[in-house]
Each structure stands twice: as structure tokens, then as C-alpha cells.
């Protein structure tokens, strides 16, 4: 096989790639923040004493974790339309990503909360902390610190999964590659460039999460040890 690589035409479109990468970053960052909030709330819900809330959160997690993101994106996108709401593609894509990430985050955070030793909570009770204080300082924050590595892997996976939103027309990196290859007929090069950009983004994201971990978790910063 002899194939002449011709990157010039593809690379000439760099403003498009830059725009796509920016949208990918926006989608990932917003989905990560909202997904973490929803996931943590669901984890609290799943552990709560109210049977109905626990069942509801459990059903949400199972429904999302056992269906493909692509189908979820279609259901959300057409679901908004079915309700008669006109929402921009960006919002529909973001909503689907948040729903998806929320379920995965829920399971990870729940595992962290379950791993908190009972003695810790009893000790906090003996110190006369209020229930809210215990939940925040003894259960939730240490749980998040414990599962932080697993959470960041999930967030990086989500960043890669934003590529799937191109299927409803979100103009992120993969959609840009589709467009560039149809204009330049250089599909191999276009997808190679985009694959490299994703690789770069995933390393940047890992580095950013590592730094963020040091910033947020005081203990990790001071002692340099994992919980």
C-alpha cells in the first residue's frame, strides 16, 4: 500500500478544529460539574431511609448504565422535541451527558460513602457534631477524596464520549472532522488530527484533575498520601 499523506489541506482548517475543541471542552466541563452534583445527590438518595427515593435513584442508575449513550442522546433530543420544547442542540447534548454521567458518578460516590468506617461516624457523634456536619465532614468529603481517582477516570471517559454528541449535530471536534473530511477528501488525515487532539485533551484533563485534587483536598496536599 502506498499512500501519500497530505496534511496541508486539513491543517489549513485549524480555526475549525480550534472551535470544535473549545466546544468539546465546554461540553465536558459543564457536564462534569452538573454530573457530579446529580451523581452525588443520587448517591445520597440511594442510601437514604426513604424507600421510594432509594428505589427511584436505583432505577435511574440502572436505566442509564444499561443503555448506550448514543440512544440516550437520541431519546433526550427527540424527547425535548416531543414535549414541544425548542432547545438548542448544545442544551440537549449537555442534558444527555449530564444524565449519563450522573448515573456513573452515583455508583462511584456511593461506593466511597459505603467504605466510610462506622467508627468514624460514631466518633463524630461522640464529638457532638450535628447530623449535617457529620454528613459533610465525615461522610461526603472523605468519600469523594477516596474515590477521586475513579471519578477522574470517569470524567476523562466522558470527555471522550462527548464525541457522540456529533450525531445530533453538535459542532464539536468529531463533527469538525466530518466536515473537514467532506470538504478536503482527506478523511484519513482529518480523523488522525482529531484523534491526536483528543489524546492531547485527555492528557491535559488528567493533569488538570491531578492539580485540582491537590487544590481541593487539603490532606492530599499536605501529606501527599492517598486516603
Amino acid at each position: 500500500m502506498r499512500y501519500q499523506f497530505e496534511f496541508a489541506d486539513v491543517l489549513a482548517q485549524w480555526p475549525l478544529f480550534l472551535g470544535g475543541a473549545w466546544l468539546t471542552i465546554q461540553l465536558s466541563a459543564l457536564a462534569t460539574v452538573f454530573g457530579l452534583v446529580i451523581g452525588t445527590l443520587s448517591a445520597i438518595g440511594r442510601r437514604s431511609g426513604h424507600v421510594w427515593i432509594a428505589h427511584f435513584c436505583g432505577a435511574y442508575v440502572e436505566a442509564v448504565r444499561n443503555t448506550p449513550l448514543l440512544v440516550q442522546i437520541f431519546v433526550v433530543y427527540f424527547g425535548f422535541a416531543g414535549l414541544g420544547w425548542k432547545v438548542p442542540i448544545f442544551v440537549a447534548a449537555l442534558a444527555a451527558l449530564v444524565i449519563n454521567l450522573g448515573a456513573y458518578t452515583c455508583e462511584i460516590v456511593r461506593a466511597g460513602m459505603d467504605a466510610i468506617h462506622k467508627g468514624q461516624i460514631e466518633a463524630a457523634e461522640c464529638l457532638a457534631l450535628t447530623k449535617t456536619q457529620i454528613y459533610w465532614h465525615v461522610v461526603l468529603v472523605p468519600a469523594l477524596e477516596k474515590v477521586y481517582p475513579a471519578l477522574t477516570s470517569q470524567f476523562v471517559l466522558l470527555m471522550l464520549a462527548t464525541s457522540i454528541t456529533s450525531q445530533i449535530g453538535a459542532e464539536e471536534l468529531t463533527a469538525v472532522a466530518n466536515r473537514v473530511q467532506s470538504e478536503t477528501y482527506r478523511s484519513f488525515e482529518a480523523y488522525l488530527v482529531v484523534a491526536l487532539l483528543y489524546l492531547l485533551l485527555s492528557y491535559l484533563a488528567r493533569a488538570a484533575f491531578w492539580g485540582l485534587g491537590l487544590l481541593v483536598f487539603k490532606r492530599r496536599r499536605k501529606l501527599g498520601t492517598l486516603l
Partner: protein, 221 residues
């Protein structure tokens, strides 16, 4: 309106589901074979082999499966190789699965207690014997729950083969939707079928895990 959802449409979706299963099986077998080699390479004593496998995993885990699909189907076709949608989808799914399965199995191999490796060394077993007779049988038990769990990911991610025109469940849903234009109903049905495929695997994986956990507890006592 252009007609409503009928039994024929459902039949078409179920046909698509059988292709989803077929693609998932290909990806699991192919990914398992390559992934096994990756896992062994990652724990090998030959440093260049370790680096090679580690960079392979980093490379594949750092790019989306969707881009891999496009690269295989459109990219390689432009370069002169014509792949059928099935071949392109199988190949990209295999590559994708091998990187993840390789990492899962490496973790399992490494989680076999250090003393087992040392004991095998003391019994003058060769490296091959140690792997085959001591480490792998134990790693296999640890590996079962996460491997079954990963099969769920494979089934779900096979939906991305729809972008290269391979008619599996999601693509079948899109085709049905094109003819009756009731997207919400169609894709909810598709979602239910995926759930029916994946949930048993999830359940099975959990059951294995519980069994393993109990066994470990008994051993610890």
C-alpha cells in the same frame, strides 16, 4: 403520518439486536485475545515490551471509539483498503476492547498476592509454568466480575457501529424512525431492548462479585 409502529418494525429491531449481539461477541473474543497479550506484555520482565503495551493502552484509551470507527471506515478506505461496515466495526471494536480488557486483566494478574509469585519461584517453576499453573488460575477468578461488567460496555458501545452504516440495533432504530417518524417511541423501544441485553450481564457480574467477596471472607477467617 406515514404509518405507525407495527410488529414488522419490532421484528426489524430484533434482527438488528441479533447483529448487536454478533458484533459484541466478535469484539469480546477479538478484544479478549489481543487484550490477553496486552496484559501479559504489561507484566512482562522485558522492559521495551512493557513500554510498547503501555503506550498502546494510553493511545487507545485516550481517543474516542467513535473517532476510531471513522478512522477505520472512511480513513483507511481513502488510503486504498476497502472495509465493509462489519469489518471496520469489528476491527475498531476489537482494538477498543483490547486496550480496556488488557488493563482489567493486568490489574487482576497483579492483584494475585506477591507471596504466590515468590512461592512459585521457590518451587523452581519456569516463568511459563508459574504463569500458567499459579498466577493465571487465581487471576481468572478475580477477573470474572469486571470482565462480565465490561461486556456490558461492549454491548452498549457497539451502538457506535451505526455511524459507519452497520445495521445493528441503533441503526435499525434510525431506519425504522425514517419510515414512521416517531423518534421517541422508536428510540425508547431500542433503549428497552438494550436494557434487556445488558441487565442480565450486570446482574451476573454482581452475582460473581458477591460470590468472590464471600469466598475471600471465608479465606480470611
Amino acid at each position: 403520518m406515514t404509518g405507525s409502529f407495527s410488529i414488522n418494525h419490532l421484528e426489524f429491531l430484533l434482527l438488528g439486536a441479533s447483529w448487536t449481539i454478533a458484533l459484541a461477541l466478535i469484539a469480546f473474543v477479538g478484544g479478549g485475545l489481543v487484550g490477553f497479550a496486552v496484559a501479559l506484555g504489561r507484566v512482562s520482565s522485558i522492559a521495551p515490551l512493557r513500554w510498547l503495551m503501555a503506550s498502546y493502552v494510553l493511545l487507545i484509551q485516550g481517543t474516542p471509539l467513535l473517532v476510531l470507527m471513522f478512522l477505520m471506515y472512511f480513513g483507511v478506505a481513502m488510503a486504498g483498503f476497502e472495509f465493509s461496515p462489519l469489518a471496520a466495526a469489528s476491527l475498531s471494536m476489537t482494538i477498543y476492547a483490547s486496550a480496556y480488557i488488557g488493563e482489567i486483566w493486568r490489574g487482576c494478574i497483579e492483584s494475585v498476592p506477591r507471596t504466590q509469585w515468590e512461592a512459585a519461584e521457590c518451587l523452581p517453576l519456569t516463568k511459563l509454568q508459574r504463569m500458567k499453573l499459579v498466577i493465571l488460575p487465581q487471576a481468572f477468578r478475580i477477573a470474572t466480575p469486571p470482565t462480565v461488567g465490561f461486556m456490558v460496555q461492549i454491548v452498549k458501545n457497539s451502538s457506535l457501529a451505526s455511524v459507519v452504516g452497520f445495521v445493528e440495533l441503533t441503526r435499525a432504530g434510525q431506519l425504522v424512525n425514517n419510515s414512521i417518524f416517531d423518534p421517541l417511541l422508536v428510540f425508547l423501544t431500542v433503549a428497552v431492548i438494550y436494557f434487556a441485553l445488558c441487565y442480565p450481564l450486570t446482574w451476573w457480574s454482581r452475582k460473581f462479585e458477591a460470590k468472590l467477596g464471600r469466598h475471600v471472607l471465608v479465606q480470611a477467617e
